[in-house]
């Protein structure tokens, strides 16, 4: 539903800007879905004067005009018959955007046109399309149309929740705002003057379906003059997205928007037999509606009928046979209410949704009908003239007393956890129109106004109390403690799971260690791992320190398992290691160590068995580092003495060692009575976890253009590093090489001693274009050339 800022101001002196009002509405529970600044389009339209208007030399129905927009004289071609000299018009210059249409320079029958003279319909002001809009003589040439028409308003598209039918009109919204903003509200005062003639002499009313039609009021006005509505009325309707039609229809729409209660006006002369009958439709009864469609009705539909036929489909749409025309003189104003479920069923089945059905479907109130009826009559007398007949026809079959609901301040406190004193509760609820009747200390009784059908229980009142108090006006209890480091917590699990998938079994050893192990592993004399955290009362010499390394325990686990017949195994331990020098307590760091022994894969009848090698361990380390999103790690030889010379490596980030891995020195392993090749790794998780590695994945665009795969193969001296070679290829590829995969290495037959052949798959891709063969060949030529120049590589 649309509501307008200016219109609201008729009832309540909003002391806030349209911008602030948007938030107020939203926090009142009236969610603003869109805001539109009205008059934005009309601001582009200038008032201009036609200084010369003559027939187009080549077209009979067109005129060639010179118009002055206050700054210059412009040639415009116009097709309207009412265009003539000296009139003031609404002029849209080149570049003006009207609805979906942009004004451009045009050539019509050989003559140029630099703009457009607009009709009211084109400007969205009315349905009038009989020629261009002609403005009064006193209109100021050069000023914009929005300013001239005084169209400066903001409209809000709001969502009204189904529990609040009272908000389906401006007054309901104003009432809520008045309570929330503590501002007084002024409601329209309808003082209707009746003539002595009785309505009963002209019309009778019969409500055959009191269960379905819960209220029906008819009033009658004679001798109205059907014409265009005054400006203020049209402006208000336009501001909420309704098109002005004529003064009678406009008033019914206006009052609907005001009270949220739809009305209908009939042409009295078309009501046959002077009778209004509210009845069920006949099966297959045909009803010609205002929308120029004839609907086939069913017995559950309600119709408003006269002696002979249906004149309206109750609450949904009027009849084609009885609507207001320019000839209409006497009218009947209907203000009624119908059972919401019946309206919903009919409008749903016939697929007719009108402003009227939208409201009746939401269970509006019987009582408002009278207010709306009086207001409509008052306005019609004012703007359409005529005489209101005395009295009304009113069917109100089941009038109900106002409900009384109690609220306990103690209960308010229990539900909301905030103290709201009784006085405050009274203040809030009275502001919403509830009437305080009486109350003991913990029981306040309120009479609920008829327009708040949704308030039936104590909890409904409590909701209103917190709404007026402000949902965000309550203290926040901080429950989030932020004690744990969640990224580290989950990273640790991730690494464990990764190793499990690699076939590792986790071991847990006592954290006690044997200082001799550090010697056995040839740890340097000045290494911090010799700063033992020594126990005063250990279980024995071999448990006399807190472990400063995990590997010795793993070697002992390995031996135990080898002695029990295992030759292929992978084990890891993720635990703290301890050192202590000058600190009061100890330095405790999280490490991850692992040992691998035996074959790469489980025995499989289709495969030959392959023994683990250095690169298997390296792959695991790379996978772990990638899993932890560590970028830019590098590899170098390790200084650890427990790796076989030349087969121990270290991974570094920013020059800092974060892991070592490789093949353990057979001599050291033999010291632990193990005579099998053993591979090991040790990762300093503590250092890794202090790095900023825990960022969320950010989506990158999926390449639009297909990648191209090309292979290159060359013979190169073994003295050059693989990583340098790859870097060279990458650099020479001008950003077009997105992936470089080594897929073969070969030395021996036909290859010189000290040389080997390397074959790479290059994946070339671009974000902006499909790579042509020519482009790819150029890249490959460049790569070849650079490899030749840098490494004397021989392409194959």
């Amino acid at each position: 539903m649309k509501i307008s800022y200016n219109w609201l101001k008729n009832y309540i002196d909003l002391k806030v800007s349209p911008e602030v009002l948007k938030d107020r509405l939203t926090f009142a529970g009236i969610e603003v879905e869109a805001v539109e600044e009205l008059g934005k389009e009309l601001k582009q339209i200038k008032i201009a004067q036609v200084v010369k208007c003559e027939r187009h030399p080549n077209a009979e129905k067109l005129s060639l005009c010179q118009v002055n927009d206050g700054t210059e004289t412009i040639q415009v071609i116009c097709g309207a018959t009412n265009c003539k000299n000296n009139i003031k018009v609404a002029f849209a210059g080149i570049g003006t955007q009207i609805q979906d249409f942009k004004i451009k320079k045009a050539k019509l029958r050989g003559e140029l046109s630099f703009g457009m003279l607009c009709s009211e319909k084109e400007l969205g002001i009315s349905d009038n399309h009989d020629g261009i809009m002609i403005l009064p003589d006193n209109a100021q040439v050069g000023s914009d149309l929005a300013a001239y028409l005084g169209i400066k308003d903001t409209s809000y598209d709001v969502e009204i929740t189904p529990n609040r039918p009272d908000l389906l009109g401006m007054i309901g919204v104003a009432r809520d705002l008045s309570a929330l903003m503590k501002l007084p509200i002024t409601l329209p005062d309808s003082k209707i003057v009746e003539i002595n003639e009785l309505i009963e002499d002209h019309l009778s009313l019969k409500n055959e379906v009191p269960q379905l039609c819960t209220r029906y009021i008819a009033r009658m006005i004679k001798n109205v003059v059907i014409k265009e509505s005054p400006e203020w009325l049209k402006k208000h309707l336009i501001s909420v997205g309704l098109r002005p039609i004529n003064n009678i229809v406009d008033v019914t729409n206006y009052v609907m928007m005001e009270f949220g209660h739809p009305l209908h006006a009939f042409d009295y002369s078309n009501i046959q037999g002077k009778k209004i009958i509210i009845r069920k439709a006949g099966q297959n009864e045909e009803f010609p509606a205002l929308d120029e469609t004839t609907y086939k009705l069913e017995v559950d539909d309600i119709v408003i009928a006269d002696d002979k036929r249906a004149v309206a489909l109750a609450g949904i749409i009027g009849g084609e046979n009885s609507h207001i025309t320019t000839q209409t003189k006497d009218i009947v104003i209907e203000a009624a209410n119908f059972l919401y479920s019946s309206i919903r069923k009919t409008s749903g089945r016939l697929k007719i949704s009108t402003d009227s059905s939208y409201r009746f479907e939401r269970d509006i109130t019987d009582e408002v009908a009278e207010l709306a009826s009086r207001r409509a009559c008052d306005l019609i007398l004012e703007i359409a003239g005529g005489e209101l007949l005395k009295g009304k026809l009113d069917s109100f079959p089941s009038k109900k007393d106002l409900k009384i609901v109690s609220v306990r301040p103690s209960r308010v406190k229990k539900v909301l956890s905030i103290d709201i004193p009784s006085e405050k509760i009274k203040e809030y609820l009275t502001a919403l129109g509830l009437i305080f009747i009486e109350g003991s200390k913990d029981d306040l009784k309120f009479k609920i106004p008829y327009y708040r059908k949704d308030l039936t229980r104590e909890i409904d009142l409590i909701e209103e109390i917190i709404r007026l108090n402000g949902y965000n006006n309550v203290p926040t209890l901080t429950r989030s403690q932020n004690i744990m480091n969640k990224p580290v917590f989950y990273a640790r699990r991730k690494v464990e799971d990764l190793l499990i998938n690699y076939g590792f079994s986790e071991v847990i050893n006592w954290n006690f260690g044997d200082p001799n192990d550090i010697d056995k592993l040839k740890i340097n004399k000045i290494d911090e791992r010799r700063d033992f955290a020594k126990l005063k009362n250990p279980l024995g010499e071999s448990f006399s320190i807190m472990r400063s390394m995990l590997l010795p325990s793993l070697l002992k686990n390995a031996l135990y398992n080898i002695n029990h017949g295992q030759k292929n195994f992978r084990i890891f331990e993720l635990k703290k290691v301890f050192t202590r020098k000058d600190e009061k307590l100890a330095t405790e760091k999280l490490h991850l160590s692992g040992l691998l022994c035996g074959e790469l894969d489980p025995v499989y009848w289709k495969n030959d068995s392959v023994q683990l090698d250095f690169y298997d361990v390296k792959g695991i380390i790379e996978d772990i580092l990638n899993e932890l999103k560590i970028e830019n790690y590098k590899f170098q030889g390790s200084d650890e003495q427990f790796y076989q010379p030349g087969l121990g490596a270290a991974a570094t980030v920013d020059g800092k060692i974060i892991a070592s891995f490789g093949k353990m020195d057979p001599k050291i392993v033999a010291d632990y009575d193990i005579n099998l090749p053993v591979f090991a790794f040790d990762i300093d998780l503590d250092t890794i976890f202090t790095r900023d590695i825990f960022h969320d994945t950010i989506f990158t665009n999926i390449p639009k253009f297909p990648p191209v795969l090309r292979d290159i193969s060359f013979v190169i001296s073994k003295e050059f590093n693989y990583s340098d070679i790859v870097e060279t290829i990458r650099k020479s590829g001008k950003n077009s090489i997105s992936k470089i995969v080594l897929f073969d290495e070969f030395a021996g037959k036909n290859i010189k001693e000290g040389f080997h052949s390397l074959t790479f798959s290059l994946i070339l891709s671009s974000d902006t274009k499909t790579l042509t063969d020519e482009y790819i060949n150029n890249i490959l030529k460049k790569v070849n050339k650079v490899l030749k120049n840098s490494y004397n590589a021989e392409m194959r």
Binding site: Y502, G503, S505, E506, I508, N509, W510, L535, N561, H564
Partner: protein, 339 residues
């Protein structure tokens, strides 16, 4: 000439039906219907005929061409079917031979229990807090209301590094550290390694414990009872009831010990529960006001509960591990059972 044509059709038919490969069939196709085919050479002879004979002859040749094309198409289908069944035969295997599997690793049973406990408590809004294994006497004893002359402080019970530096005997130390460093309310569990100077069949000098702590306004004994109940049921199943009985811990008041219904006999009485039907799970209680006051917390405003459970014991009960030593032997035949 018509007879000649019939002969051609007859020989084509025979040849086409005899081929078994797609390649040969394509050769026949070009031989009979291609540009330089036999049928085309017939067409060229049309010039030698009289005008009247031409249409009839042309039609005959065309019909022959259609016939041969149909034969080829039919044979093409046959050959495809043949090749398909050949493929099926050659790819047939013994479905009962072993599939290709990856080596499968395993988490240590204690880690499995550790994670399960973390997940249960995290789902109830607890956070996981950690602290050092090497502690001072203050956090391990003093702050926890343990008197100076308490027997637990003896060398025979506790590992010391220095006079007042030791290996924590419980993870309650983490609770103290958390309360020192974080504003209330606090709702944590602290799993970790603990150490006691004893080593026999039922005691390991290093073991794993989890402690829980909730300090907030309005925390009561009922909350403690409730959380224990929920935890035990989530850990061991709906059938397992728990109970608490009065006990003494220096840092809680009132204090209690937690029992659960025997996971083996469900309360009937068996060798695991030594006939009682109940198993001891750990200690619990409301945080002693002294502990809170020492940390500068107003014990009139705030109350809390705390409890500690042995994770090794939970693992043994849950997985029916008969001997504690198996947990630290790291025998792969044991570990792999938990994959």
């Amino acid at each position: 000439m018509k007879e000649e044509l019939n002969n051609v059709i007859a020989s084509a038919k025979k040849e086409i039906n005899d081929v078994t490969s797609m390649h040969e069939l394509m050769q026949l196709k070009s031989k009979y219907t291609g540009k330089k085919s036999i049928l085309n050479s017939f067409m060229q002879k049309i010039g030698s005929l009289s005008k009247d004979e031409r249409p009839a002859f042309g039609q005959t040749v065309n019909i022959a061409k259609i016939q041969i094309t149909q034969l080829i198409t039919a044979q093409e289908e046959n050959i495809k079917e043949l090749e398909y069944s050949k493929t099926l035969r050659s790819e047939s295997i013994d479905l009962t031979m072993p599939g290709r599997k990856r080596a499968k690793g395993s988490l240590h049973p204690i880690t499995k229990i550790w994670r399960e406990i973390e997940d249960i408590f995290m789902s109830m809004g607890f956070e996981v807090a950690e602290g050092p294994d090497v502690e001072d006497e203050y956090h391990n004893f003093d702050a926890l209301n343990t008197p100076q002359d308490h027997p637990a402080r003896e060398l025979s019970d506790t590992f010391y590094l220095d006079n007042d530096v030791l290996l924590r005997t419980q993870t309650s130390t983490v609770q103290i550290r958390t309360m020192e460093n974080h504003p209330l309310p606090i709702k944590i569990i602290s799993p970790g390694s603990c150490y006691r100077n004893e080593n026999d069949a039922s005691h390991s000098p290093m073991f794993h414990q989890v402690e829980a702590l909730l300090v907030d306004k309005g925390v009561s004994f009922i909350d403690l009872r409730d959380i224990l109940n929920i935890f035990v049921k989530k850990m061991f199943g709906e059938k397992i009831e728990s109970r608490i009985r009065p006990h003494f811990f220096p840092f809680t008041e009132p204090s209690a010990e937690i029992d659960i219904v025997c996971v083996k006999c469900y309360g009937e009485g068996c060798n695991l529960c030594k006939g009682s039907g109940w198993l001891e799970m750990g200690g619990a209680g409301m945080v002693d006001p002294n502990v809170l006051e020492k940390l500068g917390i107003d014990s009139e405003k705030y109350t809390g509960y705390a409890f500690g459970l042995g994770m090794d014991r939970i693992a043994m009960l849950k997985y029916k591990i008969p001997d504690m030593r198996l947990l630290f032997e790291n025998d792969l035949r044991f570990l792999k059972q938990f994959s």
